[in-house]
Amino acid sequence: MRTRRSFTKPLVLVSGFAFLNVAMYLLIHRFWIGGSSFLPMIGIGGPENKFIFAFIVNMGVIAGAALGALTSGEFRFRLPSVADLPKAILGGILIGIGVTLAPGTCTTSFVTGMPMLSVSSFLSGAGIFIGGYIVFRIIWRKP
C-alpha cells in the first residue's frame, strides 16, 4: 500500500513526465513542444511537418489527461460559464500572439528549452514571469 502511494506522489509523477520527454528524444529524436504545435490550426505544418507531429502529440496529451481523470474519478464534464468566456477568449488570443511572436510557452521553455540551455527559453521564461505578474497585480491584487 505504501509503495502504491509513493508512486502517486506528484514528484514521482513529474519525474515520469521528464523521463518520457528524454525517452521520446532518444527514441524518435523529437522533443515535446507546446506553442508552435498549434500552428497547424492556421494552416502551417512547419519544416518536415514538425508542427503537425507536435500537434498530434498534444492531442495525445488530452487523451492521456482524460485517461488519468477517468481512472482517478476526477473527470467532470463542465460547460463554460458566460462569466468565464471573456477571460478565456482574451487569454486565448494573448496566448496565440505569445506563441507565434517568438517561441516560448512556459512548458516549452521550462520543460524543454531551459534544460537544452537554449538562450531564447531563458528570455521567454523571464517574460512569462513579467506578464504573469502584471496580470496578477491588475486582477487579483491591486498595487
Binding site: 487523451a63 482524460a66 460559464s81 486565448g92 512548458t107 514571469f129
Partner: protein, 179 residues
C-alpha cells in the same frame, strides 16, 4: 521511421505525458500564481525535478548519438527582445484564463470545456502574428538562436553540471521539513 509511424509513436508518448501531467496536477499558470502569493514550494520542487532529469538526459543524449544533444528551441526570430515580449503576452494570457499550454490540454482532458474556448481563441492571435506581423518583423529582425554555452564560451557539460548541482541543492532546501 515513416511519418505515420512517427506520429503514432508520438501520440502514445502524448498519452503518457497527459497521464503524468493530470495525475501530478502540473500547470505552470497555477504554479506562477502560487509563487506570486508566496506559496511556490510545490511548483518549484516540480520544476527542479523536471530540470534535473531532462537537463541530464538531453546532455547525455549527445554522447549516445551525434544527431541528438543540445539544440536551440525555436528557430523563429532567434533570441532577444521578442522572446521577452512574447513571454509577457503569453504570461498575461495564461494568467487570465488560468491555464498554461499543458494546463489547458489537461483541463480539456478533465472535461472542462472552458479550455476548448481558450484553445480555439488562440487561432486569431496566431493568425494576427503569422499573417499580419511576421512579414514586417522578418525584414527588421534576424538573429540566430544560440545555446548558452555558445553565448558564454563555456563547455555545455560544465554549465549543465553546475545548474543541476544548483537545482539539487535548491530541491533539498525546498524539501526540508520545518521543525
Amino acid at each position: 521511421m515513416n511519418f505515420t509511424t512517427l506520429v503514432a509513436v508520438g501520440f502514445l508518448f502524448g498519452i503518457g505525458f497527459g497521464y503524468f501531467v493530470q495525475r501530478a496536477g502540473l500547470c505552470f499558470a497555477h504554479g506562477l500564481g502560487e509563487i506570486f502569493i508566496g506559496k511556490g514550494k510545490r511548483i518549484c520542487r516540480m520544476f527542479a525535478v523536471i530540470f534535473i532529469i531532462t537537463a541530464a538526459g538531453f546532455l547525455i543524449s549527445g554522447y549516445i548519438s551525434p544527431e541528438l544533444g543540445l539544440k536551440t528551441i525555436g528557430q523563429l526570430r532567434g533570441f532577444g527582445f521578442y522572446n521577452l515580449l512574447s513571454g509577457i503576452f503569453f504570461g498575461a494570457g495564461i494568467f487570465l484564463n488560468g491555464g498554461c499550454i499543458l494546463g489547458t490540454l489537461r483541463q480539456i482532458g478533465e472535461g472542462n470545456m472552458t479550455f476548448i474556448v481558450v484553445f480555439v481563441s488562440m487561432i486569431p492571435g496566431m493568425a494576427l502574428v503569422v499573417y499580419g506581423l511576421n512579414p514586417l518583423l522578418e525584414k527588421n529582425y534576424n538573429i540566430h538562436n544560440v545555446l548558452l554555452p555558445d553565448l558564454l564560451g563555456v563547455a555545455a557539460p560544465f554549465i549543465t553540471g553546475t545548474l543541476i548541482m544548483g537545482a539539487l541543492i535548491w530541491l533539498l532546501i525546498l524539501m526540508r521539513r520545518k521543525s
